[in-house]
Structures are given as C-alpha cells and as structure tokens.
Subunit: 92 residues, 4 copies
C-alpha cells in the first residue's frame, strides 16, 4: 500500500472505531433505537469507503505486479481473491 | 430497549470497536490488503447483526406502543422510520 | 396492498424483467463485461426500490392490523417477519 | 467472456427474468407482501451470483490482457472500472 493510502485508511479506521465507541455510549444512555441504527449505518458506509480505497491500492500494486509476472499460480491467486472479496461485499 | 438486548448490543459494539483498532494495527504493520479487507467485512457483518438486534427490540417496544396508541401522526412516524432504515440498509 | 402500490410495484417488476431480457441480449452480443455488470446493478437498485415500496405498504396494512389486534402470536409473527426481511436485506 | 461463462450467465439471466415475471403475477394475485419481498431478495441473490461470474471472467480476460499490455492509460482504465464496480456493489 502506498503511504498516502496507508495514512488515509489508518485515519478512517481510527475515526470509525471512535464513532463506534460513541454509539456504544448512545446505547448505554438509552438513545432512541432508530438514531443508533442510523449511526451504525453511517459507520458501515465509512467502512465501505475504506475497503474501496484499499482495493484500489491493491489493484495498482500487488495485483498489477502479479499479473505482469511469470507465475501463473500467483496470477490466478490474486484474481481469485478479487472475485472473493467482491462476492462477500455483495452479501453485506 | 430491554436490558438483555442493551447488554448484548453494548458488548457487540465494544467488540466491533476493538476489532477495528486491531485492523488499524494490521494496516500500520503492512499486512496484506486482502486480509485487511476481509477483516473489515467481518466487522460489517457484525454490525449488521447489531442493527438487526436493535430493530427487533424496537419493533417489540416503541413501534408496538405507537401503533396501539391513538396518535395517528406518531403511528405514521414510527412506520416511516422502519421503511427509511430498510431503504438505507439496502444501499449498504 | 393498496391499489396505487400494487400498480406501481407491478409496473416496476415488469420493467425490471424487461431490463433483464435486454441484459441477456447484451451478453449474447458480447457487450463489454463491465457494462453488463453495471446494468445488473441498476436492476438490483430498482428491485431494492420495489421491496421498499412493498414493505412500506405492508407496515401500513397487515402489520398495523396485527399489532392493533388481540392475537399475541400473530403480533409476534408479523414483527419477526420484518426483522427477518431486514436481516436478509443486509446480506444482499 | 469465454463460452462456458457466457452460457451460464445467459441461462441465469433468463431464469431471473422468468422469476421476476412470476413475482409480478404474485403481486397481481395479491400474494402476501412478505412472500413477495422474499422472492425479490432471491432474485437479487441470483443477480449477485451473475455479477460475480462475469467479474471473474472479466479479470481473467480483458483485465489480464490490459495489465500485461503496454498502454498505461488502458491499464489504469480497467483497474478503475473494477474499483467502481466494487464501490457500487457495496451500495446495493
């Protein structure tokens, strides 16, 4: 992962973790359920963005290197991983 | 929210926040991108479960009370909130 | 389901089915894979809208009637169905 | 797209379109809303599978060819398309 992506991803993950701690307090203080659910959905949208940033970086680095390389097994492995991640994403 | 749900939701949110902090470390330590994305997807599945628990509790408490009540505006409000939460969920 | 929702839902389902037949032709004519995937995603967004319309109507009719009724088992059944539909939706 | 994938995708799209026509009849015959929504969700799961099949084929053909090629703009284009499709998928 390049440094710009690494920094952006780290900050977004820290922010999402902080957001979740805030949501935990909302639950303890008996906030309205719908408000809590909406905040959880906001965290999920933020995590989708993190995954997209990471996938984009991964495609430009490891995947490109593997596909330009000579190792057919390695090429197949990186492509299969992309398909798997996409399939799981469609089930979230 | 009943106490059982409140306790379960609080624990799951704390666990998800801890999981995200662990993922943040994975990124700082340059773990493989696909492994990081899969861990993020695991957190998202856990958050889906939290939202489902909260919605279930909300339906049995606030929504049931409102629909059995006399205030037509309040009935409409709680139903609209369910529809909105469902619609956002389908976009996550 | 009220007549307005029934008409809207029927039209949207017919439109989505027609869209899928068009996508089938795109595949047979060897259109670019990404274009095909994007069209499939458009159909899925349209189907999300249909489900939201139906859920909204269902909440205002069957669910309201059941919750205002005397049958505790029936109340529990309709609420559980909403939770289940929400849970499946979060996995799509 | 290779012939095996093309055949599988065509059959699945035709099946999904037929399924939607059946759901349209369910609505016209006033079937229970939750049953209709569950059938719509089944079609969406089937369409996720079609998209995954197509993406897998696309990665092994066009994407591999482009990344092994000399055209940097073309490489960037195919990678950006994957990221975009993933991002939209996470919003469905």
């Amino acid at each position: 992962m390049d440094d710009t992506t690494k920094k952006a991803v780290t900050q977004r993950l820290a922010s999402a973790a902080g957001h979740l701690k805030g949501i935990e307090r909302m639950v303890q203080e008996n906030n309205y359920c719908i408000d809590v659910i909406q905040q959880i959905q906001a965290v999920q949208a933020a995590l989708n963005k993190v995954s997209t940033l990471m996938l984009n970086s991964h495609l430009h680095t490891c995947v490109t290197t593997a596909i330009q390389g000579e190792d057919a097994g390695e090429r197949e492995r990186v492509l299969q991983e992309i398909t798997n991640v996409f399939e799981v994403s469609s089930k979230l």
